[in-house]
Symmetry: C2
Amino acid sequence: MRAEIITIGDELLIGQVVDTNSAWMAQKLNEIGVELYRITSVHDEGEQIISALDKAFDEVDIVLTTGGLGPTKDDITKHVLCDYFGTHLIEDTRVRSHIESLYANRPDVLNRLTATQWMVPKAADILPNRVGSAPLMIFHHGTQILASMPGVPYEMEIAMEEQILPYLQQSVISHQHSAILHRTLQVTGIPESKLAILLEDYENAMPKGLHLAYLPKDGLIRLRLSSYGEMSEQEMEIWFEQLKEAVKDFLIAETDEPLEVIVGRKLIERHATIATAESCTGGKLGVLLNKHAGSSAFYKGTIVSYATSVKEEVLGVPAELIKAHTVVSEEVARTMAESVRILLNTNYGIATTGIASATGGYTNDQVGTVWMAWATPQGTYAERFQLGKLREQITDRACQKALVGLLKIINHKS
Amino acid sequence: MRAEIITIGDELLIGQVVDTNSAWMAQKLNEIGVELYRITSVHDEGEQIISALDKAFDEVDIVLTTGGLGPTKDDITKHVLCDYFGTHLIEDTRVRSHIESLYANRPDVLNRLTATQWMVPKAADILPNRVGSAPLMIFHHGTQILASMPGVPYEMEIAMEEQILPYLQQSVISHQHSAILHRTLQVTGIPESKLAILLEDYENAMPKGLHLAYLPKDGLIRLRLSSYGEMSEQEMEIWFEQLKEAVKDFLIAETDEPLEVIVGRKLIERHATIATAESCTGGKLGVLLNKHAGSSAFYKGTIVSYATSVKEEVLGVPAELIKAHTVVSEEVARTMAESVRILLNTNYGIATTGIASATGGYTNDQVGTVWMAWATPQGTYAERFQLGKLREQITDRACQKALVGLLKIINHKS
């Protein structure tokens, strides 16, 4: 089964909003065995929406649209879908009472524009939107279907999880479909082209229907094996194990999970805690570590010592040490990591100090230099990195290096 | 002039990567007067790429493709473009010497797969890729053009800034084109539907060719006026001023800049400094404040007191206060904000403490409660918010509330 996502909204095409919905939806579709064939983003413009619908119905079984369902004039998706499917709007009393109860405590929202939200296309199946006013609409087009949902990410996510995906599983997807399988490894410490040469024999031996993709980012390469219904799980497992063996010297993770999730799990398994002292990364490493629910089991806190005075006064880095070695030095990184580990009473402390932009007296040549230290029960390790020239690239890569370094230490020491 | 972006890569369609490139490119295209008509994302699959190219050349003047240019087998864009434009690969000595110098210190990268990168389509104009090995390619299709560039975001950005955009401006775009104009306001404290009712007269009076869009997110609504070459800058300015007047009671920003940029500018103007003490936001507010180059002029640091012990021992919040009021309370938020302001010696201190998930003994009813405090030279302000039920939504909204609150305080006090 194939699907297309059509995202509707001028904001996407003038670059005011990044489309994060499609990637999220793609994962969920793959999980229920639906291949996402294409993503198309179009303006809030009738003819363009209709042209995208025509093209989608030529090629896929399921069309998912997001966006254009607000109560304001710029949102036209519902009206365009009415025209496209030759139907008209009628009042839906269930949607009306849902909206009235949703905004029971906010009378200023229950106005005549909001009232347009309970007018729904007669020909559509209406599913409830638990968290918003725009109803979810399912249209039938022969054996094909179209589902329309809001573009606000958390509304779309709840709509998909609670309504659209169960609907597709019950009504649309044949239960004999073959699964779409993806397995991902993460490797580090080898250039992409060299890795591909290492894997040449492996790739040449791969059967038709098995695909290998290389996704390099921030010094990590994700290696993904995919099969679109042409291979059993057992066969996939055999190929995955062979891939693991082939790259074992560079392997850092056996799943596609973010590194901070793997780090968190390993820390919890060891009943260990962590804190960070961050200068150039500005708290990003701490945000990664506490991003997921349950992180309070291993993450205790962060001190972002952006100003030198904070390094001295809060982290207790001696002024003479900074004077002797500069703030971006092995000595300062080590002291920061050890201080935050003691101050926050954790098993591990990670510190970053580096130059993320050519301001504050630094030259362009110096940009990208980062010193990092890991204070552990077995001692403190430090390493110097050169992480590029762009601010965001440098800080993102530094976070990856910090997590990779910690994983290596934890794996080695246990 | 109209453009289409075609992003190529299985990783986009299985949800392994979010397409952030298109939004960035859209902004840059608009700045040089090119309207982005559509974005299409397709698999690394020859027929699908060709079908997307055919459709794009039916409707737009400029086609921009990203992705599929790596040295590994899964990347096929260059070969597909060769077939499409009826040309073949030849060695490019300039590209070769560039790649050889780029990797002069990394002999393991200069292998036979990397060598395929200096084979380029004979019919294409080749532009240099300063930071990577994949050459930038321009193909001509009658009066239309196609530019192909890598999908790695920072490589694409440098390619666009340094090569593709100047090329389009010199060679493709008529200098008589009318500008695409966007002006955005940000408002807060009014529901979207009520705002639309408030603006009904304004919208009814708007001339054809002027568009108003509502973009609500995290409690802020961005109101965007757009004109695609049908209005002069002076006319736009008049309509923008009228819009500002109509929403003045809810106005928080007169540009589309992120709030942290506006906050940073106002702090620098006032020679003021800031620090944050964060619990539920986990350092996200600090990351926002130090996200942009030059932030060290006003941002000094953050203490993320995720664990209660850090609130007590680093921020000096008395254990009795926490016992008496719980960690998520006005009293604790106030003390955190005042402590971090004193500890880091800044003019402003912002604190957040709240419940971002139903772990650690909290019930689902309690999730979303956030206490926030702003310690300022004029005293400390505190406010309680209810910010939804989803972890990321709660923390993102809390950061917006913190910045909105600070802007109101700064604007009011100066």
